[in-house]
Symmetry: D2
Subunit: 351 residues, 4 copies
């Protein structure tokens, strides 16, 4: 009953730590007969990998995908699709100095409380590297969904206190923040570079838009599609909040303002974010997540060691001063995993 | 693969519609040998039931719990605990006039798209009445958790635009809003009564606090305890957003500000809301949810019927002008279901 | 993680004890829009109910089905289908004398070891009455499967040492044993009546035939359709063995004898029982189960009480001297639950 | 909802085909802090691997285990344990000649019907090689169970028509059949060698004994321990039947003969095979399975190709003339997976 599987029909099971042999994923329930190439997956992994710009960590991870099973002569076979990314060049000894310290903002303390044992090398299973297995699985889901006309796009709308004032989805891949507003992106970048120099980090907000989605997806009363998306997003280590449609703003509105009225052309507004009663309406799904500032900072902080002795700590090495640009493909991947599962669950219900 | 079950070990399966024979729940995985009386459950149901005050719906629902199985001579047997609340006095004919209309903000449209059939009487399965089954199940979980020293308290912190400026948990049950600030509660009440008179409704924010929680609960990487809480909360029809600890505020902070430092007495702050890496730290869990203004309003709204013909609609009858006070026990119940499941999952892992 | 749910997509959760308020079942994942009447279910329940003949128990159980949810205006809605059979006229005091004794062949001892508490009234959850919930759920599955041309027929092929020498499926409902050979049935009946007079009971073998089944159903490598059928059958309290196709006979054959060859008309034999590699071939599924002699006998037997003191016990009251005829509808029901789930899982895979 | 996962708490997910990159398994839910070495797993794999004797296939498979994750400094971490066995030296071209033929007794036909695509190389996912992933997972479970005093031993009791007349568990590993009777083993061996020379194969019966088992394990009403064992065994491609305790013999017995009576020393017999009502009694679990004669034989057989044209087929290469000795460690592994899962589920229930 441990929690390393996600999805009911398109079921993803991940494994691996940042400094073991590798990280990987098995997908059980892949539609057979889909054309699939390692390139399809590598493309998404490259969007997540470190070292893409001055505001991502300069660590080297080749993040090269290896398909171990489930594909034969270029087509998925319907049997479990196994994929692995072998770890390379990790320097575990880097972590020896913090072996017995709890890094503030990290899961060191809670992991030790849970498992009574801790792989201290680079956060072990709690490392962001774990999300590359999610991205690999999501790439398969995205390929299938795209063929059905469903498109998923995430982008930074706020970082380091700077907010995007426009939504230009064409420029997302053209700026280091994967933001939807070039001018805002420039400002974010500058502030973040300064924070990086200070050994500090910045938080932000990422928005995700799903277009071309079928109405009728979602499984009330518990596995509503927004509920599953919320779980998917909050399961990412850096995400502390999620809101759908108008989100927290709804608290200040009247029903007559918030309700989405309809006319002969369909919904007149989309305050609900494309989901009502936990089921898609066919309108675009839209949600936002809060991304906390990276916990790994080289500024000195107070902590204790496993004996409870007070210590000072600096997390050395190059870390992401803002995780937003690299979380974007992870958000897309997790969204894809939720949507494809719901798509297949609906097919099962109606069969 | 339909979604009417929740939890892995303490597994809750609900059924029932607002205008059928009743709503109910089966809990599989209840610890045997627990003293359990229908009164334990009725107490929580009475906190959720309609007609408690001027700002809740005046509908009459007796909401009387009947335990059908799983309890013998006052003790749980470890076999499935079946409970049902029979429906009474529903006047289904009230809904005949809106039989073919999609009520704005309601799940009428999305349910029809999903199931191609719709029980139009009082929202059917999408009715808020469904949550009484959750409250009944949660009451059992709460009883067990309380005996372990874990306490769960939810309360309104904002409604109709008015925000609580203090957190007095002793007064929650003494005001109609279940708010934690008497003065704010008075203001909320007045505004909401006015809105009700206008046939409109108000949204709000509810906060939930869990104290006495063990460190080490949560199942990374997908079934993190915050991920499961997020799913649990967003699975409530009226909830559009959730945030843990500082939540969306973290987007504007630096890592050095957001990280919770430690000293010999433990954590020096709780910006994370008691959960790091998806596992409890032992600090209080704290999260907030956005509650949308009630969709059922008697103000005239634009909509279409199932043929797409434009219509005007007023949702007649007495509805809750603000759902916050009645969602409080539901939030507590769902939180209890998540916590007890994680508690048992941890026991299974370590066994 | 308790085990009162069955199936992944057409998911059945049962509850209830023989001497509590009732037994019932929730089915989550019922295809919406199916015509369903309580009569469809009652028909199957009546085939299972006590008191049908001289060789079934003379206990009175009305076994009247009540649909609580999931059906609206005669059609399934796709939401959870809740059904309950209220218990009537049970005389719990009958069981007071055996309250502290372990009845040989019964689950009294193992239940107490597991739950540390025991509902001694009529076996509680371990009672055969629990299977009426399965039959009710199975009736819904059977209705859907029949509309797809899939037919499931079980029948006694051996009882009290007498074996059927022919398979006449037209006479099954015309003899007290539900056997497929009238002459054999007559002999069985006589022996069983004598055993009943002696306060003893008889075992037997039931065979199940599924015709019209699609090829391609089953989910390797663990959830093969034969694996799920085996689980389904062995989950019945009286069933101690199962074999598919030639079953145990295969141990004595050569590969060249056992392999089913093919020609242009398809398979030339069906030694495999319609399933190869855990997937249906489209040939008829055929399997047999061993039904143990009823444990409840009025002959005196040795046992101990909960203190370990040696005692003599006679299980008074009228019990089934042979459970075969009444297990037939239960076998059909469980088979239907497996097949419909596999049918829907296949639809989900290919979607 | 595809079926490549097994277990609820100690959850095993396998992947891989006989002629792809490798086969592997992830175990989620491994108790943290257990000493685990690749040698523990290799030992069991070596018992299953080909080429052990004159009556097993002479194929070379190194079957070398690689632990990819979940172990740190020799201890399990409680995070997913990933293991892989890379394939080596498979000569896929061997299978080109049968690419379009359905081999009798093989899953070629049913796989094509299900997935509409087929990896023809050495049976793909339906290959016996898939079971090495089960053995690897089972080895971890066995290690944990052994430390609790639970011992699992399987052995051949019949093969090629020869039955063991004694149960000497000390000699199992000393004969090629892994039989429990030396004299019978010699006879089996001779017959099987002759069959092998004729290009034919033999079936058999394997028995499994579990000692030191706790009473109280099993999760009624569906996930009874015997039900789960039945599923586990029938999920093996070569297994066509299973019986517990007296098994099919119970059909011919009276209740007074079959019931296990008790006295102050406990049960006086174990006709039930250690399980009553689906829960262990603490007596030894005992069950038997029927192993079909190996489908791959070099004798000429009739079949058709994918166009339905009649063909003759000989399955060339060295295959196991009797699978019994190599299925023994697989049976032990699957039994271990069921028992450990039930052990942990019981801990979860009582927590």
């Amino acid at each position: 009953m441990s929690g390393s599987s996600f999805g009911q029909i398109f079921k993803v099971s991940t494994f691996g730590e940042s400094h073991g042999k590798g990280v990987g994923v098995i997908i059980d329930g892949v539609t057979p007969g889909i054309e699939l190439d390692e390139k399809d997956i590598q493309f998404q992994l490259d969007r997540r990998k470190p070292g893409q710009s001055s505001i991502t960590t300069q660590r080297k991870e080749s993040d090269k995908i290896h398909i171990l099973s489930g594909v034969f002569e270029g087509l998925t076979t319907g049997t479990p699709l196994g994929m692995v990314l072998y770890n390379e060049d990790q320097i575990s000894s880097d972590y020896n100095s913090i072996k017995d310290l709890f890094r503030p903002g990290h899961a060191d303390f809670s992991y030790l409380k849970k498992y009574r044992i801790r792989d201290h090398r680079g956060s072990g299973r709690a490392s962001g590297r774990e999300t590359s297995a999610r991205v690999a699985a999501g790439a398969v889901a995205l390929k299938i969904l795209n063929s059905k006309g469903i498109k998923i796009t995430a982008y930074t709308i706020k970082a380091a206190g700077i907010e995007c004032t426009q939504r230009d989805l064409n420029i997302i891949e053209n700026n280091k923040l994967r933001a939807c507003d070039s001018k805002a992106a420039e400002k974010m970048e500058k502030i973040i570079e300064t924070l990086a120099d200070e050994g500090d980090s910045a938080g932000g907000i990422v928005e995700c838009l799903v277009t071309g989605i079928n109405p009728g997806l979602g499984e009330p009363v518990f596995d509503k599609i927004d509920a599953e998306l919320a779980k998917a997003m909050i399961s990412l280590g850096a995400v502390k909040a999620i809101e759908f449609g108008l989100g927290f703003k709804c608290a200040d509105l009247k029903g007559s303002e918030h309700n989405d009225e309809m006319d002969k052309d369909g919904f007149k507004s989309n305050n609900a974010g494309g989901i009502i009663g936990g089921i898609t309406t066919g309108e675009n799904i839209i949600f936002r997540i809060a991304v906390k500032p990276t916990s790994s900072i080289s500024k000195e902080q107070k902590t204790v060691d496993i004996q409870g002795i007070e210590k000072k700590i600096k997390t050395e090495g190059r870390h992401d001063p803002c995780i937003c640009p690299r979380i974007v493909p992870v958000v897309e991947a997790m969204t894809a995993l939720v949507v494809i599962d719901m798509y297949k669950r609906q097919a099962a219900l109606m069969a």
